[in-house]
């Protein structure tokens, strides 16, 4: 065996493997991206659930056969327990709890200790939470009492547990089984149904391309719409059959194993509702997965696109397990979460017409959008024939040709890399629990090193035109005015949005408190440098520079929206999602139509500066707002504790529109949004060989 040959082959294999996008995705981006996303999402889900559970108030009925005054006081200490007196041993409703006080003699007969029976219903989350609160209160009380009461026995001193506690769960076995199943089955059903669409969707699109049959069918007299709808129907049917078989097998197994309980669980009505709502879910995922796989050249490539979508569905599907979440009007609109929670509700035997309608309607709308996207993509030659190569990595720079802007794939790649780098950099440099000033400096460092630097390096590597990629263009003074108008108009809307959002996704108190304390204690100037100036430069260069340029093939509206959403997602925390996306959309609008990133930076800087100033000079600014006539309630909504009055919102919107119109009127004529097709091809060398091979 010649070592030399082994070495030669090894290096060739490594080079070839590293040039394969799929390997890179699976090997590097997959793990480093998936874990932060999953862990962040899970931890936020759990803390959101906790926050929701914390809010539950339970009515506790006291049934005092014997009076133990201290105990009643101990219970009342918990603000989430509403204590009322009763002489009923059973709770009034499903949510209720009865705490029955009695007494019993100790074994030696010398002492009388309280005997307490807590009657509750384990299957009801309110009742169950209430019970835990009652137990916690009683435990605390018991500890206090133990500290005081000592009982002398023969062998010296010994503590005696000062009360006897009994739990009485009213829920039957069948009810408990039902609750557990209603929590776990929806998740499985949703995920299995989605999985059912995966392979047929890939096979009928990317699979056809790989097998070379797509051209054959395109040459036959069938419209592209007809082809897509035909294919879609087959994927949908398979997806539905998968869902149906899962549901049937689930039911049959259940009936077989829990023969005694089967009547109480999964009545025909529930099954029917679940089945009907599987329809829009199947349409949504069949169309979505087809649309995504149409982009891919091969089956394996499509798998690499579809698998992350599936993994991301895992989180919303898990909502059925989180008992703190119950279906509400808003959650009815969130895809996958709505199905997961709706199935649970229905399986628990609760039918609410409003929820049925909302879940069905919203999912149908998403499904229609996804289907339309699939049809459009199939009509797009570039997608269908995979003409555009997303990006070339591990290619020596000297083999790359200079080009004005990055491709869409390169922009997304940069997004993923920066997200990962910034996430790990801020873990390393800027932990909120550290010193306030070190947090600020760490944040600054992370932004410069993990956002700006990689973007600049990547742009240099790809030989991009910096002026075009980063929109480094001059602006007019009137445009500055327009930017300030947009900021002024957006400000109150942003406050309102943040307030609305808070109701849906509670803030993570730990995070907010630490952040504000570091702003207070780290000094105002460092805070402005780290949290206003730095992001205004680094994040703008990244999002309104590189990423926006990479989207230049999209229509301006889609570009602005997508950029905003990416900007929102980049902010990691769900409670920042909507406000950040809103800001992202406004700034993208400015940069797309003014052609100047500096205006975007100005907006970003102003926004963050004002937010910091507000948190630093809270009282003064509130007083200022009250003084200029925003009413005595200004403090409430300025601190995000109430709605912004609607006349102010209307006025704000008007100002915002004024600014937008101004930017639009003065729009940059040669902006990338208008298309850079006018620019002539500088290289005559034909690339048709690539095109020939689909």
């Amino acid at each position: 065996m010649k070592i030399r040959n082994v070495k030669t082959i090894f290096f060739k294999e490594m080079l070839e493997t590293l040039r394969d996008k799929r390997t890179l995705m699976v090997m590097i981006l997959g793990p480093v991206l998936i874990y932060p996303i999953l862990i962040l999402a899970f931890s936020q889900m759990v803390s959101m659930e906790k926050a929701r559970l914390r809010r539950y108030r339970t009515t506790v009925q006291l049934y005092e056969k014997k009076k133990w005054p201290d105990i009643k006081k101990a219970l009342s200490e918990d603000p989430n327990l509403r204590v009322v007196e009763t002489n009923e041993p059973r709770p009034k409703d499903e949510k209720g709890i009865v705490v029955e006080f009695d007494s019993r003699k100790t074994k030696d007969g010398d002492h009388e200790v309280p005997k307490i029976v807590v009657t509750y219903r384990q299957t009801n989350v309110h009742s169950e939470r209430g019970k835990e609160r009652v137990l916690a209160a009683l435990e605390k009380y018991a500890k206090e009492v133990t500290g005081r009461t000592r009982v002398h026995l023969d062998n010296g001193e010994r503590y005696v547990y000062p009360l006897i506690l009994e739990e009485n769960d009213l829920s039957s076995d069948s009810e408990q089984v039902r609750t557990i199943l209603a929590m776990s089955l929806p998740m499985i059903l949703v995920l299995m149904t989605i999985a059912g669409a995966m392979y047929p969707a890939i096979d009928t699109t990317a699979g056809e391309k790989e097998r070379g049959t797509i051209e054959t069918i395109l040459a036959a007299p069938a419209g592209r719409n007809e082809i897509v709808y035909g294919k879609f129907l087959s994927v949908f049917v398979i997806c539905m059959v998968t869902g149906l078989l899962n549901l049937t097998a689930m039911t049959l197994t259940f009936v077989h194993v829990f023969r005694d309980f089967s009547k109480s669980f999964l009545p025909a009505m529930s099954m029917l509702l679940v089945l009907i709502s599987l329809v829009p879910l199947a349409v949504l995922f069949s169309a979505l997965m087809m649309a995504v796989s149409t982009y891919a050249r091969t089956f394996r490539e499509a798998q690499n696109y579809v698998t992350p979508i599936y993994l991301l569905c895992l989180i919303p599907a898990m909502f059925s397990v989180m008992r703190g979440f119950e279906l509400n009007d808003f959650l009815c609109l969130v895809p996958v979460i709505n199905m997961s929670l709706f199935f649970r509700e229905v399986m628990e035997g609760v039918y609410r017409a409003r929820h049925i309608l909302l879940v069905f309607a919203s999912t149908s709308v998403y499904a229609a959008v996804a289907l339309r996207a699939a049809v459009k993509l199939f009509q797009d030659e570039n997608a269908l024939f995979s003409l555009e190569k997303p990006f070339a990595l591990f290619v020596r720079r000297r083999f790359l040709r200079a080009k004005p802007m990055p491709s869409f794939g390169e922009a997304l790649f940069a997004c993923a890399v920066v997200f990962v780098l910034y996430y790990y950099a801020s873990l390393f440099f800027a932990t909120p629990s550290g010193e306030p000033s070190s947090f600020l400096w760490g944040t600054m460092l992370s932004q410069w090193v993990a956002i700006l630097l990689p973007v600049i390096i990547f742009a240099r590597y790809l030989k991009l035109d910096f002026r075009q990629t980063f929109s480094l263009r001059r602006f007019r003074p009137v445009q500055v005015l327009a930017t300030f108008l947009l900021f002024a108009g957006g400000f109150l809307l942003l406050l309102e949005l943040a307030f609305l959002q808070k109701n849906l996704f509670p803030e993570l108190h730990e995070f907010v408190d630490e952040l504000s304390s570091s702003v207070q204690m780290g000094g105002f100037l460092p805070a402005v440098l780290a949290l206003a100036l730095t992001p205004a430069i680094c994040e703008e260069m990244m999002f309104r520079g590189f990423v926006l340029a990479g989207m230049n093939r999209l229509a301006p509206g889609a570009r602005i929206l997508l950029n905003g959403i990416l900007f929102g997602l980049y902010h990691i925390f769900l409670f920042k999602l909507l406000p950040a996306a809103f800001l992202g959309i406004v700034i993208s609008f400015i940069v797309v139509y003014s052609g100047s990133i500096f205006l975007g930076m100005l907006f970003h800087l102003t926004n963050n500066f004002v937010a910091l100033a507000f948190s630093r000079y809270n009282r003064e600014s509130t007083a200022f707002f009250e003084k200029i006539g925003f009413g005595p309630n200004a403090a409430r909504w300025l601190e995000g504790k109430g709605h912004v009055p609607w006349p102010l919102l209307v006025a704000s919107t008007a100002v915002l529109i004024l600014g937008a119109v101004l930017i639009w009127r003065l729009r940059f004529r040669d902006s990338p949004a208008a298309g850079d097709i006018a620019e002539t091809a500088s290289h005559g060398e034909s690339n048709a060989e690539e095109i020939r091979q689909i």
Binding site: R211, G212, T213, E215, T216, L218, A219, A220, P221, A222, G223, E381, N382, F385, L387, E388, K389, L400, R401, K403, S407, R553, D676, I677, E679, T680, A681, S682, H683, G684, E685, S686, N687, A688, E689, I691, R692, Q693, I694
Partner: protein, 278 residues
């Protein structure tokens, strides 16, 4: 419907009589079947803004003619033929097949052409019968006609013994026959063949050549792309030389030789295409 069964050279090739004659408009030359004028196709390219795959190509094909498009790899042959087959839409210019425009009446065009290329593969999990029926239905043919023609074509091509085996399990030659059957099922008046013999062995390649010759005998118009000189020289009535998206010369073999002063088609080809072929 009458059936003509001419005896082929090596295989019993035959084609069914032309049923669907070209519906050309009265005032135009009745023999013109395909008319291409200033056809262009530019592809967007993120790195270089655009690729000019086909750049202003014009030519005319007449009934019963074999028109060869000769060009090196990457000259734009496939893109040109794909536009004629309505698979790609032109950036500018126009193309008409049997008087129908590829842009505005693609379905009418599709009904009149049979398109065969190296990348028109078939479904590996379907049998030849299922495959041919599938396409016949898309062409809007009646059930009885489908049966009849399938039977005929399978008979003529000698496909009956493997008609119920899945396509994926067939040999290369058998696969090629199914593709031919698929191309002919709707009896097209124009055949667009993109490098039909590429990658085939001598026997299968010859089968294709026989098929093309017989098609001409039935007065079909054939547009053929190839980079085999002998194939072009032997079969084509007229040849167009395509280089970097442009038609650099056009005429019969003799005309091309005379114009370039070369002694063989290969030399003529090199004369026109030269070193800038790629």
């Amino acid at each position: 419907m009458t059936c003509i069964l001419p005896v082929g050279h090596r295989l019993n090739w035959s084609l069914v009589a032309v049923r669907m004659d070209c519906e050309t408009t009265e005032n135009s030359d009745s023999r013109v079947v395909v008319e291409v004028s200033s056809l262009r196709k530019f592809f967007p390219d993120p790195k270089r803004q655009e690729i000019r795959a086909v750049d202003g190509v014009s030519f005319t094909c007449y009934e019963g003619e074999i028109f060869g498009i000769l060009g090196p790899n990457g000259a734009g042959k496939t893109t040109l033929l794909r536009m004629l087959a309505t698979i790609l839409s032109p950036t500018s210019g126009s193309a008409q097949v049997c008087g129908f425009d590829v842009m505005t009446q693609p379905d009418e065009v599709k009904k009149r052409i049979g398109f065969l290329s190296g990348s028109t593969k078939l479904y590996s999990r379907l049998t030849p019968t299922e495959t041919v029926r599938y396409f016949a239905r898309l062409y809007g043919m009646e059930k009885s006609l489908i049966e009849e023609r399938t039977h005929e074509i399978f008979d003529v091509l000698g496909m009956s013994y493997f008609e119920d085996r899945q396509w994926g399990k067939l040999s290369t030659g058998e696969k090629q026959k199914v593709s031919i059957a698929r191309t002919l099922i709707h009896d097209p008046s124009v055949l667009i063949l993109d490098e039909p013999t590429a990658g085939l062995d001598v026997v299968s390649g010859q089968a294709i050549i026989d098929f093309i010759r017989n098609a001409r005998e039935l007065n079909k118009t054939i547009i053929l792309s190839t980079h085999y000189m002998t194939e072009a020289e032997e079969m084509c009535d007229r040849i167009g030389l395509l280089s970097a998206g442009k038609l650099v010369a056009m005429g019969t073999t003799e005309e091309l030789l005379a114009a370039s002063g070369a002694s063989s088609l290969t030399d003529a080809f090199l004369h026109y295409v030269g070193g800038n072929g790629n």
